[in-house]
Symmetry: C2
Subunit: 490 residues, 2 copies
């Protein structure tokens, strides 16, 4: 099995696929558009889940579980939602198979559902239909619920983690007595996502709001975090929606307020998905493979013994076991790879491909000198380090790697936010430097649509900290009050 | 909202439903047979997941994720599997909806799948189709993988948690080089399930093997843990299957052994589901509501202040905050319910219904006397306890409750294993005492089937520690070598 991968420069897209496959993160399945998430990939996703789940619970949210299937008619209830979601989806029409008598398994046509069921592409409709039974008074509010689930959107062109027919995600669905409270919740979750992206994924993000064209179907306002990949394309890494009273009206969910008046409930929804795996891979990795930020690495430190005979190995192992215990006691996850079926060189290449942040090699001479050799995955720097105080050294090194990875991604991102003051400049930038392009826009969906059609660039967001600035739309020449961020995106 | 529930004696089945609904564990959804798991229920399931997941990982298993959908043709590949699973299932036939022009959302007949997809009822087929690409040599074995997932079986008669069209579960799927190793794995997982049931759920179980009639479709041997509910019916709480080479043959999964020879891989699969929630509820609860074993209780201790004015409350709260910190420091989960919208009596009844193991009430006089009032949920005993050393007292009390709940369930179970030596005795026992009936059986599927048809009792298992004993089959009068356990079951 060759561990060589395509370089970013040769073919960025192939480089990405190579890493996903060769770092054993995921693969395509026998079912069109659906992926198999392999143990190496799933272990990272589990770490993401655990961290996010704690963040959600620390802010008062609880988990629950709603049905996989949604009656078709539910989609018709919220007018703009149906346009966005009830098109490309998996439709269940029958509930039985049978043997045709010749050993073939066929669909039993007598077992046709009266109403087709849709495999959830997102759960607003089934959840708001449920909330109707839970909410009568302001005392029942807020409802702060999240669910971890699989969802299906029938994508025609799929890419592992980035765009698959089935994917895993979490979706928060909250219900509030006032618009203000719902907006506050929408913003709170956006900041949680940004915190997670920056402090765990080590991926800097821009917090902003979507233009109307790019809003979630059914939302009054969509907030997002936007990250930049190494090829200069943007990736939307999480969204948080203020849904207003749209779903409450569609599903007739009202509550009696403190003042005794009846009103529709205010809603938010917010989600991140296995797409974050794509962001992690593309933001950090290099031509030798995956690079995982230490805080999300299932294995943070791998130790490889270099030995000539069993006696050497036994001495090394006895030191390593003691070191591993100390590291584990500090909450550091360690793997000691003393397999005799593979040579050290093979192991080095394999852990490099799989992105383990720190590799320790230790041989007979190291034992004599009371040293070890440490290689950090992000910079590939190797050093010989004394055994004394090694546990503290490694703990600091992991922190340093986490910070360096963020700094590197931040420097790249900041270098790739460029102002364009004419459409020509804009187009040239897209084809040369790429990244985020900050440009004036007249605020109309028509202009946004035209620019998208002509350049494939979309408005990624209007940054939350945007400054108002009079200007002229690069496309229409009409007046503009602020710059917005454009980019080509995943 | 009335918190009264039907008594067990009046209507056991209604009692169960009342608890599920009034303890806010789950409810029926708008989709036939699918449930909504509410936050109170999901929090218990999450604790179960966390404990089991650690047990799996401690025994070398890793998590992964396989597709929700399975191509129809996969089910035809393993002859007995198809009979068991490819009948009542959700069939996806189309991948698009459209607007018919009159505002109705209809299925787009031009978007019909070439091959129908089945929503997984269990994942052996898609997983073994995947393993084919992962296994070439003995070096690739064993594969020890688990997945947490939703599955769908189109059940016609559903009951919350016990039998629903969609349910949540974990399914382990392992691949081995030898039959011995696979059998060892099958048994290891059975014992893990039994350990979990007894030491966490506080539900005693019998470890045994299924008769051929009751085996998993496609297995050579099915091991199970069987629990007894308070109405004398059995509940299968977990199964572990030795699949032999059936799926490896069906999906052509071979490996080169150490000896260079090519052979089919040996398999196991094992699973437990949200059905465990049903076992927890039915094994322990009483006519006042749910009783949760402390080790699985999301809230172990609830504290309710009894006060006349704000000054009282402020003094109580200051003591409670300090107590809560100490308890949390010991890993005990505590909720302080100082809501002013509900009276103490309402809160007492509510936490009783929801099964919180320990309730502490504290009023002005308690503060003076340096005492609190403690009520344990399982026995409903109340005592006044000194504040001094209260944290240690509560920690021990939680352990005691856990043990008492197990002992009580064990005593009940052991009283309900009865020998029957004739079919008349057998039938009478079923209608009077119920429970497990230990009886001789001639070992034939025909006899088992007849008994099932005539009495609705099935062979729950042949206990692993069964003694051989010559006897006569209660039904056929033919010779028998051992007693087996019959029961009516959920």
């Amino acid at each position: 099995m060759s561990k060589e991968i395509t370089s970013r420069e040769a073919d960025y897209s192939q480089w990405y696929n190579d890493i996903v496959l060769k770092a054993d993160l995921a693969e395509h399945s026998a079912v069109r558009g659906c992926m198999v998430i392999k143990p190496n990939g799933y272990a990272i996703w589990e770490k993401m889940q655990a961290i996010l789940d704690k963040m959600f619970k620390d802010t008062g949210h609880q988990n629950a579980y709603f049905p996989l299937f949604i009656p078709k008619s539910f989609f018709s209830k919220e007018a703009s939602h149906v346009e966005g979601f009830a098109t490309e989806c998996a439709v269940v029409t029958h509930y039985r198979l049978k043997n045709d008598g010749n050993g073939n398994i066929i669909v039993d046509e007598t077992a046709k559902l009266e109403e087709e069921l849709i495999v959830r592409p997102t759960s607003e409709t089934i959840i708001w239909n449920t909330y109707k039974g839970w909410i009568q008074s302001y005392r029942d509010l807020p409802i702060l619920i999240n669910q971890w689930a699989n969802v299906v959107r029938w994508e025609m062109r799929t890419r592992l983690f980035l765009r698959t027919a089935e994917f895993l995600w979490q979706e928060g669905h909250t219900a509030h007595a006032t618009a203000e409270e719902a907006i506050e919740e929408t913003e709170r979750m956006l900041h949680i996502y940004a915190d997670f992206a920056e402090n765990w994924l080590a991926v800097p993000v821009i917090r902003g709001r979507k233009s109307p064209n790019e809003r979630f179907a059914g939302a009054l306002d969509t907030y997002c975090i936007e990250a930049l990949m190494q090829d200069g394309k943007a990736l939307q890494a999480g969204t948080s929606h203020f849904l207003g009273q749209n779903f409450a009206k569609a599903f007739d969910v009202k509550f009696t307020g403190r003042d005794g008046k009846l009103d529709h409930v205010w809603a938010t929804s917010w989600g991140v998905s296995t797409r974050l795996m794509g962001a992690l891979i593309m933001a950090h990795s290099d031509d030798s493979g995956l690079i995982i930020p230490p805080k999300l690495a299932p294995i943070q430190v791998v130790i490889v013994p270099i030995y000539k005979n069993d006696e050497d190995l036994s001495k090394i192992s006895s030191y390593v076991n003691e070191l591993s215990l100390r590291l584990k006691g500090m909450g550091i996850s360690v793997k000691y790879d003393d397999r005799d079926t593979q040579r050290p060189g093979f192991k080095f290449a394999d852990y490099e491909m799989k992105g383990v942040p720190v590799r320790i090699a230790i041989g007979g001479r190291d034992l004599e000198n009371k040293t070890v050799e440490i290689a950090r995955r992000d910079t590939k720097l190797k050093q010989t380090v004394p055994q004394e105080g090694l546990d503290i050294y490694i703990a600091k090194l992991l922190e340093d790697i986490q910070q360096c990875m963020f700094n590197k991604a931040l420097a790249y991102r900041d270098e790739h936010i460029t102002e364009a003051n004419s459409y020509e400049e804009f187009q040239e930038l897209l084809d040369t430097k790429a990244g985020f392009i900050s440009a004036h826009w007249d605020g109309t969906p028509e202009t946004e649509q035209k620019i998208k059609e002509e350049t494939k660039a979309t408005i990624r967001c209007i940054p939350l900290d945007n400054k108002l600035e009079d200007g002229i739309c690069i496309y229409s020449g009409k007046p503009s009050i602020q710059r917005v961020l454009f980019a080509r995106a995943y």
